[in-house]
Amino acid sequence: MKILTASLCKIGGRDYNQDFVTVSASGSNACLVVCDGLGSYTGSEDASRLCAEKIKDLFEQVSEYDPARAVKRIYCEAYIENAHHFVTSHKERNPKIAQSCTTVACAITDGTSTTFAHIGDTRVYFFRNHKLTYQSKDHSLSQVAVELGQIKLRDIRTHKDQNKLTRVLGSDYFVQADIESLQKPLNAGDSILLCTDGFWEYVYEEEAEQDLASSATPEEALHKMEKRLLARIPRFNDNYSAIVAMCKED
C-alpha cells in the first residue's frame, strides 16, 4: 500500500492567506498538516506556518530513528504541544503578533497505525472505501450547539456562531488537541481529507465521498471539490486549503 497526496492552499477573496499546508509522504508513511491562522489577529499567518512546519519537522525527526513510535498517539500529542510552545516563544520575541493563533488538523500514519489530531475548526475526514467513517468535531460554539441537540451537524455551515472558536493553538495557554487513533491499518481505497473552514463550508461530505470514489488520483478528487467550492463562494470568501491523501495498491 502506498499513499498519494495532493494539496491546495488558496487566498480566496481575502487580502492575505493565513492558511498553511504541509505534506511529508513517502511509501505508506505520511504526515499531513493543515493550519488556519485566525484572521482577526495580526500575524496569524506566522502562527499557522510555524505550527505546521514544527509538527512536520518533529515527525520527520522522530521517524528517522523510531518510525513505529513516530505515529503513536502520545508522540502526536507531543508534536502539537511543542508546536504550541514554538509559536508562543516566537510571539514573545515579536510583540507585533502577540495575538496571533491558529487552528490545526493533522494526520500521521505509517500505514499500520494512524493518528488524527485537531484544534479549532480545521477538519479531519476519514473515508474507508469512499464512505465517511470519521469526522472531527470542531471546537466552535456551533459544534456545541450540535452536541446539545440544538442544530443539525450539517447546519454548522450557516450557523451564526461558526466563527466563535473555543480552542486554538498558540494562544496564552496550551490546550489539548482532540486525538483519534484508527483501530485498523489503512487499506487501498481509504482516503483522508484535511481542510479549513473556508473549504468545508462549500463542499458537503457526500460530495467529497462521490469525488473520491470517482477519481483515480488525489489531484483529480481535489480538483472536483474545488470546482464545487468555486461555484458556491460569495465575494470576499475566506482562504481555503485542503489535503487529500489516497491509499493505493503498490
Binding site: 488556519d36 485566525l38 484572521g39 482577526s40 489577529y41 495580526t42 510583540p95 507585533k96 502577540a98 495575538q99 493563533c101 487552528t103 479549532g120 475548526d121 471546537h139 460554539l141 456545541v144 452536541e147 446539545l148 451564526k160 466563527n163 466563535k164 472558536l165 473555543t166 480552542r167 486554538v168 494562544s171 496564552d172 495557554y173 496550551f174 490546550v175 489539548q176 473552514d197 475566506d238
Partner: protein, 434 residues
C-alpha cells in the same frame, strides 16, 4: 543654561531630565527613540494634558495597555486604551481611533460604552489591596482610557513557570487570598471580574498580589463579522459562552477554580462548554498536584460545570478552600496584629522587605482615595499575602519572592514625597554635573 523641561526631554525610564545627547541626568540611561508600532499611540504622546506615554506594555483583543508617566504627580501609571482589534484602526498623526467598517460600528460602540461604565464603577473601589486601583478615566481620540496604578512585578503565570511549571495548593492559596478577599468587596458592588486567570494576577516586587484587567468590555458579544475569533480558553464557565447566560460571583468562582487547578497541575481542565456534553476533567491530585482532600473537594465544587452546583460566591469558596478553622485563625491573626504590631525583625524574617533607608516616613494613603473596606491595620505597608495558610505544623512563609528583595522602601508614597524625591534626584545630578 537651564533647559525647559518638555515632554521631549523627560527620561521615560525614571522621569528625570535628558541631556542634549539624550542621556538621562538622573539614571544615566540613553533614551530609546525607536518608533512605536503604527497602531499604538506613539511614544511621548501626552494624553489628557497629563499622561506621557512611555511604551506599550501589551495588547489584548480589546485594548492596548501603556506605561505612562503622570506629569502632575511624577509617578508611573498603566493606561488601558479601548481598542478592539480587528474592529478599529488608528489614523496616523491624529491618533484618532476609527471604526473600520459600518457593520462593526454598533458592536464596537457597545463595547466602548461598557468600558466607560465599568471604569466609572472601578474608579470608586480603589484601594482594595487585591485589586489594581483605578486612578482616573477619560475619553479622547475617539475612544476611552482607564488610568491605573502601575504594578511592577510578574504575573502569577510567569511566577509558576519560573517555579518549574507548577506550585503546591498551599502556595497558590496563600497567593490568592488577598485577591479573594478583595473580590468579596467587588462582588458586593455588583461587579463581576469575568476574566480571572494567572496572567491577570500580578505579584508585585513588594509581594502584593493584585488582580488586573476587568473584563467588562470583553463581555460584549462583538458579532456581525465573519472573521474567526477565540473565546477565552479554559477559564470561562459555560454561562459566559451564552449570550444570555446569567453571570455573577459564581462566574468568578469558576475562573478562580481553573486558576488554582492550572497552578497546581500545570494544565488546564477541559473547557467548560465541552464539559457540558463530555466531561473529561481529572482530579488535580490524580495528575500529580499537591493538594489536601479538603482543598480538592472545594476545588471540584468551584469547577462545577453548571452554576447551580457551584459555590455561589467567594465567601463559600474560601470557607471550602481554607476551612472554617483557618478562617477563624485569619481573624485571630488579624486581631493580634491590630493589638500588637509585629516588630521589624519579625517582619523581615517572613517577607522580603527591609525598612526604609532614607525614604520618607510611610505616609497615610493619599486623601483622594476612598477607604478600603476594613483591612486589618498593618504594621508595614502592604506585606500582602499576609498570613500563611495554616496547614499541619509547617507554617509556610508568605509568597516566596519572585524578585530580589529591594533595599528601598515600598512605602505608599504620597505625591508630595515622590515630587520631593524627584526634585532631590534632579538636584543631585545637576550638582554632579558641575
Amino acid at each position: 543654561m537651564a533647559r525647559i523641561r518638555t515632554n521631549k526631554n523627560i527620561c521615560l525610564a525614571c522621569f528625570g531630565d535628558l541631556d542634549l545627547q539624550r542621556s538621562c541626568l538622573a539614571c544615566g540611561k540613553k533614551a530609546d527613540d525607536t518608533p512605536s508600532l503604527p497602531h499604538h499611540l506613539p511614544q511621548r504622546t501626552v494624553l489628557n494634558n497629563r499622561y506621557l506615554i512611555a511604551k506599550a506594555l501589551g495588547e489584548g483583543g480589546f485594548g492596548i495597555t501603556y506605561l505612562a508617566w503622570d506629569l502632575a504627580q511624577g509617578i508611573k501609571t498603566a493606561i488601558k486604551e479601548y481598542y478592539p482589534s480587528g474592529y478599529v484602526n488608528r489614523v496616523p498623526k491624529s491618533n484618532q481611533v476609527i471604526i473600520n467598517s459600518k457593520q462593526n460600528q454598533a458592536a464596537s460602540n457597545r463595547g466602548l460604552k461598557r468600558f466607560i461604565d465599568e471604569a466609572k464603577v472601578l474608579a470608586k473601589i480603589k484601594n482594595l489591596p487585591g485589586i489594581v486601583s483605578v486612578r482616573d478615566f477619560f475619553s479622547a481620540n475617539g475612544t476611552a482610557y482607564i488610568v491605573m496604578e502601575f504594578l511592577d512585578g510578574i504575573s502569577l503565570k510567569k511566577y509558576m513557570q519560573r517555579k518549574g511549571g507548577k506550585i503546591t495548593a498551599d502556595e497558590v492559596l496563600t497567593i490568592l487570598r488577598p485577591v479573594m478577599e478583595s473580590l468579596l468587596e467587588v462582588h458586593k458592588l455588583g461587579l463581576v471580574h469575568r476574566d480571572i486567570s494567572p496572567d491577570n494576577i500580578i505579584i508585585t516586587k513588594y509581594n502584593e498580589v493584585k488582580l488586573i484587567d476587568f473584563g467588562a468590555a470583553k463581555q460584549s458579544n462583538l458579532d456581525g463579522k465573519s472573521l474567526s475569533i477565540v473565546l477565552k480558553q479554559g477559564f470561562a464557565p459555560e454561562e459566559q459562552y451564552r449570550t444570555h447566560g446569567e453571570q455573577g460571583p459564581w462566574t468568578d468562582v469558576y475562573a478562580l477554580g481553573v486558576t488554582i487547578y492550572y497552578c497546581i497541575t500545570g494544565k488546564l481542565p477541559p473547557e467548560s462548554i465541552q464539559r457540558m456534553y463530555k466531561d473529561t476533567i481529572v482530579k488535580a491530585s490524580e495528575i500529580g498536584a499537591q493538594i489536601s482532600p479538603m482543598q480538592e473537594n472545594a476545588l471540584l465544587k468551584s469547577l462545577a460545570v453548571y452554576a447551580k452546583n457551584r459555590y455561589q460566591d467567594v465567601k463559600q469558596l474560601m470557607a471550602g478552600l481554607y476551612g472554617i478553622r483557618a478562617a477563624k485563625l485569619f481573624e485571630q491573626a488579624a486581631a493580634q496584629k491590630a493589638a500588637a504590631p509585629r516588630s521589624a525583625a519579625a517582619l523581615r524574617s517572613d517577607i522580603p522587605f527591609t525598612a526604609p533607608r532614607a525614604a520618607p516616613v510611610p505616609a497615610p494613603a493619599p486623601a483622594q482615595k476612598t477607604a478600603a473596606p476594613a483591612p486589618a491595620p498593618r504594621a508595614a505597608p502592604a506585606p500582602a499575602p499576609r498570613a500563611s495558610v495554616p496547614h499541619a505544623h509547617a507554617p509556610r512563609a508568605s509568597v516566596p519572592s519572585a524578585h530580589t528583595p529591594r533595599a528601598a522602601a515600598p512605602s505608599p508614597k504620597t505625591i508630595e514625597d515622590r515630587k520631593r524625591e524627584i526634585a532631590q534626584n534632579r538636584a543631585r545630578h545637576l550638582q554632579n554635573k558641575k
